[in-house]
Amino acid sequence: MRALRLVIAVLLYVPDRVTAMLGNVWTALVQIWANKIRSLLTVLGIIIAVTSIITVVSLVEGFGNYVTNFLRGLGTNMMVVFPQVVRGPRGEVLRRAEMTIEDIQSVDRFAAAIRRTSPLIFGSATIEYGRQQVTGVTLRGTNEFFQPIRNFYVDAGRFFGAVDVEAGAPVCVLGREVLRKLECDESIVSDYVHLDNQRFQVVGLLESKGSFMGENQDEMVIIPWTAGLKMYPNYRKYLAFYVESMSEKDIPEAEGQLVRILRARHGLKTGDVNDFGIFKQDQILQEFNKIRLIATSVLAGIVSISLLVGGIGIMNVMLVSVTERTREIGLRKSVGAHRRDILLQFLTEAVVLSTVGGAIGIALGYGLITMAAMHPNMVEAKVPLWSVALALGFSAGVGIFFGIIPAFKAAIIHPIDALRHE
């Protein structure tokens, strides 16, 4: 029986508290609306903080997704190995690095965790087609495995094959951006272009892949590495190469094997530094994570300062509000308001004020992100829901933290003094 009465009491009590809370929120909104400009200036700090949270988080997330997608596009089990000059502590050259086709072939043959390799020559060339000329085009010399290793395929014509590589045939594959700059269409396939004044036949066109970190992957010309050596004979001793491991989880094993093989071939003793470098995807991720960390730290700085400023603003305006409304407090107490009723009323007002600021900040953040997204070179950035929740949580927290003192001050005013207040 008593339990039943308790249940009924709770059932009656809860909606009552909800009604009271909604009443407080309504009072707060009326109060904020009555002092529009004052309220807006007060929550400026909160607005700045929340706008920063929304925009920075969205941008960092956007870039993060972009990097992840890019890495996936690279092929997830790819590494690049390149000769690297060994330098002493004062920058002096200790060992000249070399990498020959024999090195690459040994790796290919003896490293069990490696599926295939592809020599790689980096260059830059001027391409001519008819009357059009484009300078500074990225030139890559590689072999027939480029497509599967890089997960980057032709979508018109064909890629060059093993025979072309063997022969050092003057054939090339063009990126879409090169095509655009040469002002021609797919009819260029099987026609001839000049690369640094040497005649090459265009056999295929690469699919469009977009740019990454300032490098446009579509502004690229790919030729057999053997043909590349004819243009840059010096590369014969300084080849780089792609390595594809058997699977993604075999990457560490593949790396260990190729390091052993190359060290043995280069005659490195225990303690000698590698005279070659290995570029893996997780290095890109590490680089990106550094950027992310910096962005997050800057964000945290801006946010904490603006939240502090905003919070102090809210505390200040709430103290003013409490003083202004002393008679109201007296009246409310004389008609039966308890201290906690007054405390809750003013605390609610502070929280509503800061949350309104947060809401404005979220809207501004959305606006900024939407505007940024209109820029053609901008990555796709969406506002993550959790950042909205975080921003609202922060602003409400600031309201509670900085609103508690004014609310407490209001709650402990003696009703007689309050009613006598002028």
């Binding site: 009590y13 009271a20 109201e328 107490k333 004389s334 008609v335 039966g336 308890h338 201290r339």
Partner: protein, 257 residues
């Protein structure tokens, strides 16, 4: 309403027994109430008069449970409220006492109806809207329910304030100079309403220095230096507060001051 026979006087609402109140102002002690003993019974209509400094504000604050005495006993409807905590006092204010202030004290930007509902929201009363409407009806202001205070005249504001005091069906209405901010015609109007409420059985205490106001009351208590110096009738002795139409009315009208 219930007619009381002289033999069984109505129950006391307020009983003050040797009430003292001492304030500390700086280093000085101010003896605002010096042993006040007073009984006010149900449906009495009492004016409390006195010069400034006579202790009438202090008495009003204590009667309204806004303050507690430093000595003596205050029983409200039989319950000793002289040593209660702030929280308990707030509860009693909300349930038993209806204040009417000189300067109305309505919440701005809030409709008359919402103003009347205010005390009910703090006591978690049921059916607030209906009770507030009923209270507004009793002061004949139902047609202004959705007006804000700045759209109301002074008299209408005070009627809203009276409705607010009535909303909780309080044991007593405490009116502090209810006509003080009004012109005499409007003041009459407010007093007519209070008269009517008294006729309907409400216990009303008015603190005033206006003899015109006091003359309407059934009983006048005069204070000086924190003590009662004249009291023209104890409800018990006189056999209860009768409605204004009662035969004893002529005896109870005080002599002009």
């Amino acid at each position: 309403m219930i007619a009381h026979s002289p033999v069984t006087p109505p129950a006391p609402v307020i009983e003050l027994l040797d009430l003292h109140k001492v304030y500390r102002v700086g280093t000085e002690l101010v003896h605002a109430l010096r042993g006040m003993t007073l009984t006010i019974r149900e449906n009495e209509y009492v004016a409390i008069m006195g010069a400034s400094g006579s202790g009438k504000s202090t008495l009003l604050n204590i009667l309204g449970c806004l303050d507690v005495p430093t000595g003596g006993v205050y029983r409200l409807k039989g319950q000793d409220v002289s040593k209660l905590s702030q929280s308990k006092l707030a509860r009693i204010r909300g349930r038993m006492i209806g204040f009417v202030f000189q300067s109305f004290e309505l919440l701005p930007r809030t409709t008359a109806l919402k103003n009347v509902e205010l005390p009910l929201s703090y006591t978690r009363a049921r059916q607030r809207r209906q009770r507030a409407i009923e209270a507004l009806r009793r002061v004949s202001l139902l047609d202004r329910a959705h007006h804000r205070p700045n759209q109301l005249s002074g008299g209408q504001k005070q009627r809203v304030a009276i409705a607010r005091a009535l909303a909780q069906q309080p044991a007593i209405i405490l009116a502090d100079e209810p006509t003080g901010n009004l012109d005499s015609a409007t003041g009459e109007e407010i007093m007519d309403i209070l008269d009517r409420l008294h006729a309907e059985g409400q216990t009303i205490i008015i603190v005033t220095h206006e003899t015109d106001v006091a003359r309407r009351c059934r009983r006048i208590v005069r204070l000086r230096d924190g003590q009662v110096v004249s009291d023209n009738g104890d409800g018990a002795r006189l056999g209860a507060a009768a409605p204004p139409t009662h035969v004893e009315q002529s005896q109870q009208v005080p002599a002009p001051v």
